[in-house]
Symmetry: C2
DNA sequence: ACCAGTCAGTTGCAGGTGAAACTAACGCGA
DNA sequence: TCGCGTTAGTTTCACCTGCAACTGACTGGT
């Protein structure tokens, strides 16, 4: 039998990452959920369109590493809330250019600021070097 | 309108944490999923019972930060697979002492070793100091 | 002894999610 | 132009999840 006295659950990186991710996600969730009734995927789609401009659903899938079914449903939800509009491209009607409406942009602006603030709050617990090292390490693990 | 040129999605810690958590979890998932057909919650329950000995479902909820419904279903699944047995405590029949069977222990031993190895593999990308700093930072964010 | 409150654990329900099947549209070779 | 393969996006299905309601068991005040 293996030695059960050394390796603890708190030493297992996937567990640590999940707990930390859950904590930080739940913390920020209140902004987009309570204010706008959004889900996380919808917030991510909104972020992409607001931050990087018009694009297709496929672009969002690739850039945000989201499954196309999630994006499809998030786009429908955001469309129903009048946060974005779709426009089929004439040269290839399979693609739909997604564009935020005025209220979509307004929501994005508020959430974008909140995200920056929230990020800064978490980082406030760390020195600049620690924070930078943390980001780098996470980027490496996420293979982004 | 806010300045959209600075803060990127890759700078947003909850996003980074989620991506890193997803990556590392998917990587380890193959062990308990393909070998034993387990879900993540079942693996965590198995881990607790194997690593810390007999305990009740409530204990697992508290120690693993899992919702009681998840634990309840995971226990049922592990019981169906003959990986654990329940025993009602005579002094309080609401509590059930959970105990791994021989095959449950065997599965735990293998997965426990695999987890240590997997953790070491991830950590191989970092120096000792970096790894230690990463764990500490994650523990702080997770408020464990 | 009673009953209201609480606790461990389960179940029903209403979603969210991924995999796979599907639709519509495009493109390229014959 | 036909047809096969591919692509963007949707839908279906089966499953996991959280919440709330529930069951059965204990507890403490009256």
């Amino acid at each position: 039998m293996s030695d059960h006295t050394k390796f603890d659950l708190r030493d297992f990186l996937p567990y640590l990452l999940n707990q930390a991710a859950e904590m930080s996600s739940l913390g920020f969730q209140q902004y987009y959920k309570s204010q706008y009734g959004m889900l996380r995927t919808e917030w991510r789609v909104l972020f992409h369109l607001g931050r990087y401009g018009e694009m297709t659903a496929k672009d969002i899938c690739d850039r945000a590493r989201l499954h196309k079914t999630k994006v499809s449903r998030a786009v429908s939800a955001l469309e129903a809330r009048r946060f974005l509009t779709r426009e089929q491209l004439s040269h290839d009607r399979r693609h739909e250019q997604l564009k935020l409406t005025t209220s979509g942009l307004r929501a994005f602006d508020e959430l974008y600021l909140a995200a920056q603030k929230y990020d800064a709050e978490i980082m406030a617990d760390f020195s600049d070097q620690e924070g930078e090292a943390l980001r780098k390490a996470l980027l490496k693990i996420a293979e982004l």
